[in-house]
Subunit: 207 residues, 2 copies
């Protein structure tokens, strides 16, 4: 894939949204950047520019073939395969994550779960036996895992992230409310409900 | 506040990130848009443009006063007060949300929790008694709540959103993996872990 490393991260983060809208359209139909833009609340120019990083995928004036564009986006995003993930932290949130149907449906599977609480180790969650977090490096390495989910308290998230990175994890979905320090080449996506709340309350002033 | 309604939503959603970075700096110090940009991975021009929607807050060449800018952003975002929230859905995820320390610390408090499961109604979560979701409109109305959190399965999220809107909720933090239809004037922020995963795997291809 040409130019893979040069595409701005913000552009890559929009592609899953494009994909989501395309999934609601007929495989064999066509869609213009204007129509996509309206469905997404993004300008059509932005959409054309984003897709141009990868070659464009449409002819001027005729729109995009839905099935073709979907296939290309899935390929670009690395979604033409299944992904196995490790989960660290099996409290309430970890339980919800392990059982979350939305991941599996899209080819993301939690295949190993860890905690440091002796009361949890050996118990089961979502069909998996919860393992001692001390075994994380060995298991990640043996299974060749590259994607990790952190669902531990903020106070231990950095430590878990460091252990994940050492073990070979390259992409971390972080639910802990703390910014992680990771080396270059490791991706972090922060789940941040506060940003959502704090931006919505702007519109509530005066109520 | 002038121009409140005309500021693009994407701009408003960046303000909490600015605020977060400012919180790590000395109250009495100064910071330039270049420095903020480096800390945030956003161009300094973008930061100046974002802040210009609200009046600017800095003189050319001298940077922003940290404490002043923080105060202004908190005011713009409606964070110079406490917010009470209603939570619907008290499964694993709802439990995690009700107990989440990150909200309280920033002035967001879950003050009522609902579920439709008779086995859960009457039990306690995070110091609250779980109520029958049938009582939602009455309680929201009586308490004057404006912010709601949805932590129910995708299949019932739209129904819950509709009940919230009817009850007077104006901002919804949605954890259910489904896009909600709400009338104009109601804000929705979607917690979407899949977008995170699907954008990170782009960088993993080849591993």
């Amino acid at each position: 894939m040409t130019g893979r490393k040069k595409v701005p991260r913000i552009v890559v983060q929009r592609l899953p949204l494009y994909l989501r809208v395309l999934s609601t359209l007929e495989e064999g139909s066509k869609v213009t950047s204007q129509e996509l833009g309206e469905m997404l609340g993004i300008s059509s120019a932005q959409i054309r520019k984003d897709l141009s990083y990868f070659g464009g995928f449409g002819k001027q004036g005729t729109g995009y073939q839905v099935g073709f564009l979907r296939g290309k986006l899935r390929e670009i995003l690395g979604l033409d395969r299944e992904w196995e993930m490790v989960l660290v932290g099996v409290g309430d949130l970890g339980h919800a994550i392990a059982r979350y149907g939305g991941f599996k449906k899209e080819g993301f599977h939690v295949v190993a779960a860890f905690d440091d609480d002796p009361a949890k180790i050996g118990r089961r969650v979502g069909g998996l036996e919860i393992m001692d977090v001390a075994l994380l490096p060995e298991v990640v390495n043996r299974m060749g895992l590259r994607v990790g989910i952190i669902a531990v308290p903020a106070s231990s998230a950095q430590e878990v992230a460091a252990a994940m990175v050492t073990s070979g994890i390259k992409a971390i979905l972080n639910y802990a409310p703390v910014a992680l320090n990771v080396p270059e080449g490791v991706q972090v996506y922060q789940i941040d409900p506060l940003v959502g709340l704090q931006s919505m309350t702007h519109y509530l002033e005066g109520f």
